[in-house]
Symmetry: none
DNA sequence: TTAAAGTTAATCATTTTTAAGCGAATTATT
DNA sequence: AATAATTCGCTTAAAAATGATTAACTTTAA
């Protein structure tokens, strides 16, 4: 069998099943495990799949799979996130200079943006591509790329952000708590979020109800520094601490 | 049978079946394998098909498999570019701080990079993703994204580049001429290339033979400022003006 | 923590495929 | 008709792909 044919078959199988073992591929394609491993390495090198010990996984469907366990809940909150994203998109005006944080909720936001007069800045590689394909004016901040999320992070990213003055920023969060404020697991991502909030006139945090009461290692902002856009508020005390827009589902 | 007739037949067969082996074509067209291989090489050079070990594949049906959508536009001189990319990749050492310019030839270069000790900086969105999927340490420069090429350009990009000091830079070009030097159609991309060359100890320009003698609106460097990596040199005068590495095809 | 089980990369021998050179045949040019 | 240029198929040395083997590595579970 031709190697390219195998590549295509393997790719189809992986994208279909999400994950596959070397043994499975070996028996299904009637090829030695050595060859399958070599193929998987090649496909991984090309960035088409993600290889791991024992087999390989699709890249597409696993966005977030490699991130952290919260993402399981993220798929469940799909409808809520859409509502939040839809509402957030209406906030963008012609003269706005908008920062869009990397993350799944903000990625959804981009789908609903219609304003092509505004200018957009993001730290998400995939977000930047998405925006540019929509035909918007897009800047991306410079810095180191984080492997799992394809987001720009680190001190260079922070420095790059500092030269901007946003009118609006849309930020994602992992946790939102009365005491701990907005928090996230990665310190470098937290620094980026923090700077983006500092550098914008108004910062909106997009948070579905599953985020409430959750605390993660690094706090990037106090509650009162940002407006929260959410689907349903479990606790009145939040609205005393910050401005909350509750989007009806 | 005329070679042009065969080209057409081969093209039809490949586009119909997606992949085909040399042996198949040889028996079906009743021609020697040598001739089939020569034909496939020619069609590959023209960018009509993609040749690989054992046979060839259609480009249309495999869009997105071999290349990202951005780079489908210029598929000519594929074989030459591959040779150039392969050689260029061997130049990267452990301690290198490498700049990789956006473009098709440099994109191919990434496929052959093996050094994971070096640090990479790029202005290509797709280049950055490709590098990060390979598990390398990657920085992307900040700035405005150009829609057609998904490359970072503009004054912000130039400013972002200025903070780096590269040991090696790999640059693509549209034209290379004895009088006009290295040139490209877009002034903003030219500024980026110019800055990258300035900021690196050694700059390599990857140029297949189709680039020689061509002049585009904006010159980004004189010949003597860079080393040229090419497949074949049409004119000895080039080697008097600059350092040339000719990669045998 | 350690041992057992499972998985991998590296290496080697074998087979397959290729590129390059060469002369014969065909086609184009003078 | 003679000469040059191109095309073609064969041969051969080199390159690439493959599958088996094994030592090193990772994971799992005691």
């Amino acid at each position: 069998m031709l190697s390219q044919e195998r590549y295509k078959l393997i790719l189809d199988i992986i994208n279909d099943r999400n994950t596959v073992t070397v043994a499975e591929l070996s028996s299904e394609l009637d090829t030695s495990e050595s060859t399958i491993r070599r193929d998987l390495t090649a496909l991984d090198r090309l960035g088409k799949i993600r290889k791991f010990f024992g087999g390989a996984a699709s890249i597409r469907q696993n966005e977030g799979f490699f991130e952290d366990k919260v993402s399981v809940r993220e798929t469940q909150m799909h409808e809520e996130k859409t509502k939040i994203a839809k509402y957030a998109a209406t906030l963008i005006n012609d003269s706005d200079f908008v920062y869009i944080d990397a993350g799944t909720t903000t990625s959804r936001l981009i789908d609903f943006i219609t304003n092509d007069k505004a200018t957009y800045v993001t730290n998400g590689i995939t977000h930047g591509r998405k925006l540019i394909h929509r035909g918007f004016k897009v800047y991306i901040i410079g810095g180191r790329i984080k492997e799992t999320t394809e987001a720009i992070i680190g001190t260079e990213g922070v420095a790059s952000l500092r030269s901007f003055n946003f009118s609006k920023a849309f930020i994602g969060t992992n946790g939102m708590d009365l005491q701990a404020g907005f928090s996230t697991p990665d310190i470098e991502e937290a620094l980026i979020k923090q700077t983006a909030i500092e550098k914008s006139y108004t910062a909106f945090v997009l948070a579905d109800n599953s985020k409430f009461g959750r605390v993660f290692p690094v706090t990037f902002s106090e509650l009162n520094k940002c407006c929260v856009i959410t689907d349903s508020l479990p606790d009145d005390r939040f609205s005393k601490e910050t401005i909350v827009k509750e989007v009806s589902i």
